[in-house]
Symmetry: C2
Subunit: 407 residues, 2 copies
């Protein structure tokens, strides 16, 4: 770092960028020397090189999002010996390890508090506050859009499509919502959290991901009857030297704090071997909350350098997951059908805790809901695949994993 | 700070001290050079001067607790240019400002992550993570003993005395429990949090404090009927340039996350003007969780210096509080009694939302429970004092403040 007051340059003057400018008077005298945006109408420079080639600027804030350009600018900034602050979770999930190693080699900092849960200081909490811990597990509700949709389905008794429309009308979901509702945004954030917490390079493709499109109003009702909420959970757990990392809709006991996280809020449960169990809760998105995190990194960099991470774990394949499952079949209601389903489950060593079969009429499929004892994911997949080939089964069966998060 | 690896000295080898020693292998190569304890049987030095006068030691960890000796050692260490890490909340509440100023003058750090909520990184979260925010409010369940007692009363339907005995049997309450159940421990921690969050010197005596001894099993039941839990809450709110800071039993809506904090767990709600609403939740006590926080400070000091605080607010007197109240009277059950009570309340501009009067028999006082509209604390105190002088009133009336914590 250069001596004297830091000077910063901001690339990307969108919602978050504008909030950063608004909060800048609180940056302890650090000067925001240049702003760049590709939109000429914004009356700032359109050339990132104006920042990257300015020897006075020692902190570059990247807020353009996306992969290629952002990667190029960040890499160039680090190579020129500048510190970087970014909220770009997709890029960090893919290139975080490489960029962090480069920053380490160049003796500069890469700050990304804003990339996960916006203003909630979870990156700093884990990296510095929990630095003396071995992290055991992380369970995060880290996508506000998906949580808004599941909350609306639960609280208003509406279906997925209507809840998604509501989220879109209220500005909580994009026109193309796939990043949020198919779990990819949570997967990106989990890659970042897991790399930091378990000091392990985590390939994005190693994290199993499943979104919430197939959850119906009825699944929410059945789950509630069984004492659970359904949440899109990002999970990372140390199991010996293996890391169990996955994102999928999950049944969580109503007694658990995470089941009380409603609407667009985020919450992240973290367990360390010394600090015990912990939850960070708050607004996980928005201009000012994200800018709050950006500024916290800028101020930290202006006073010191940030830590980096070595290797540790290997990723556990989703097939080896061993947990309880909620399963919903849709089958013709005639004698022997339940027996055939149970027979197939039994052959795959899956035993059943309880069965709910609400509606006994109708010529099309009726829902049969089961809660299983712990079973292996690979067995469950094979069993479901066999069951779905039965001619009495009318629809692709749905299974939702149960997590017992102790709090 | 000296160049090269830091060396630390530990004064006080009790529960937390032993946990610090146990976690030390995770201190990134920082050397724990000396340990001091007044107990000769522990086979370490008994002279703090062995640490204070060792020029190689640049981090002193104070874990003896208490006021006089701890103050002397910390002051001496800072004056000798050493960094200090401490968990001593009582001392920090009384002398934190003075010691922090001294540390600033001497160019050393004073770390106290362990003084509030043990391993939960709330000090660092507020000081660094929320550094770009104006903090608006803090609502903390920051005493595990009191929360254990109130939780046991609510969950098991037992009275205060029995819940306290349970807490003592399970090691969650001291033989002399006054620090915890009379609110002083929460008051100490609030003084620390408020000074940090509102950048204001907070005198301990400026923080109104009231404990949980007068809460009965029935108050918990009545509160639940009204849709509330009773929690010992530490509150600090910015109101213009005045700071509303107080500790007392408080009614919190069952819908609020804080009402789901059970047993010995701690939770602290913090609202910042940029980051929005946030909750930090976790284990607020214990050897390893506290040591986790101590080590986080030691590691941070070894890599950088910590921030300090200027002035800002004045404290608002409790008499000027304006809130809703739960009030429990104990009065003889005869015609006109309720009217007389309501008349006095009315004269003090206190209006009533609802009345619960469960038991209409009995010659001694029967409980009359009211929920009021918002009223001034000074009016409430005057009204209660008048009501308690009525000869039909058989017992000192109890009022519990309601807080609407939005989450």
């Amino acid at each position: 770092m250069r001596s004297g007051k830091s000077k910063a340059g901001l690339i990307g003057l969108g919602t978050v960028g504008k909030s950063v400018v608004k909060l800048w008077p609180r940056a302890d005298g650090i000067i925001l020397k240049r702003i760049v945006d590709k939109d000429k109408k914004k009356n700032v420079s359109v050339r990132p090189d104006d920042i990257l080639n300015d020897p006075e600027i020692d902190i570059v804030i990247e807020l353009i999002g996306g992969l290629n350009d952002a990667y190029r600018y960040i890499k160039s900034a680090i190579e020129k010996g500048k510190n970087v602050v970014t909220a770009n979770k997709a890029l960090l999930a893919l290139k975080g390890e490489e960029l962090e190693k480069l920053a380490l080699a160049k003796g500069v900092s890469l700050g990304y508090e804003a990339s996960v849960c916006a203003g909630i200081p979870i990156i700093r909490g884990i990296r510095e506050g929990l630095a003396a811990n071995r992290i055991r597990s992380i369970y995060g509700i880290i996508n506000g859009t998906a949580n808004f949709i599941l909350s609306a389905m639960e609280e208003e008794g509406i279906g997925f499509a209507r809840a998604l429309s509501q989220a879109q009308e209220q500005g909580f979901a994009e026109h193309n919502p796939t990043l949020d509702i198919d779990g990819f945004d949570s997967q990106h954030k989990l890659a970042i959290l897991a790399r930091l917490s378990f000091k392990t390079p985590v390939k994005l493709s190693d994290i199993y991901v499943e979104g919430i499109r197939r959850i119906t109003r009825r699944d929410i009702i059945y789950a509630r009857e069984l004492g659970y909420s359904i949440k899109l959970l990002a999970i990372a757990k140390a199991e010996g030297k293996r890391l169990d990392a996955r994102v999928h809709p999950t049944l969580i006991s109503k007694d658990n704090l995470l089941s009380s996280v409603h609407g667009i809020y985020n919450a992240c449960f973290v367990e360390g071997d010394a600090c015990g169990k912990m939850v960070f809760y708050g607004q996980g998105a928005g201009g000012l909350p994200t800018a709050s995190a950006i500024l916290s990194d800028v101020k930290a960099i202006a006073s010191k350098k940030m830590g980096t991470v070595p290797d540790f774990f290997v990723i556990k394949p989703i097939d080896e997951l061993f947990t309880r499952y909620y399963v919903r079949f849709s089958a013709i209601d005639k004698p022997g059908v339940l027996a055939r389903i149970c027979d197939i489950l039994g052959k795959h060593s899956i035993s059943i805790v309880s069965v709910i079969q609400k509606e006994r009429s109708g010529t099309r499929g009726v829902p049969i809901v089961m809660m299983t004892h712990k079973a292996r994911e690979s067995s469950m997949r094979k069993a479901i695949s066999s069951i779905d080939r039965l001619n009495v089964v009318k629809e692709k069966s749905l299974f939702i994993r149960v997590e017992e998060v102790e709090d």
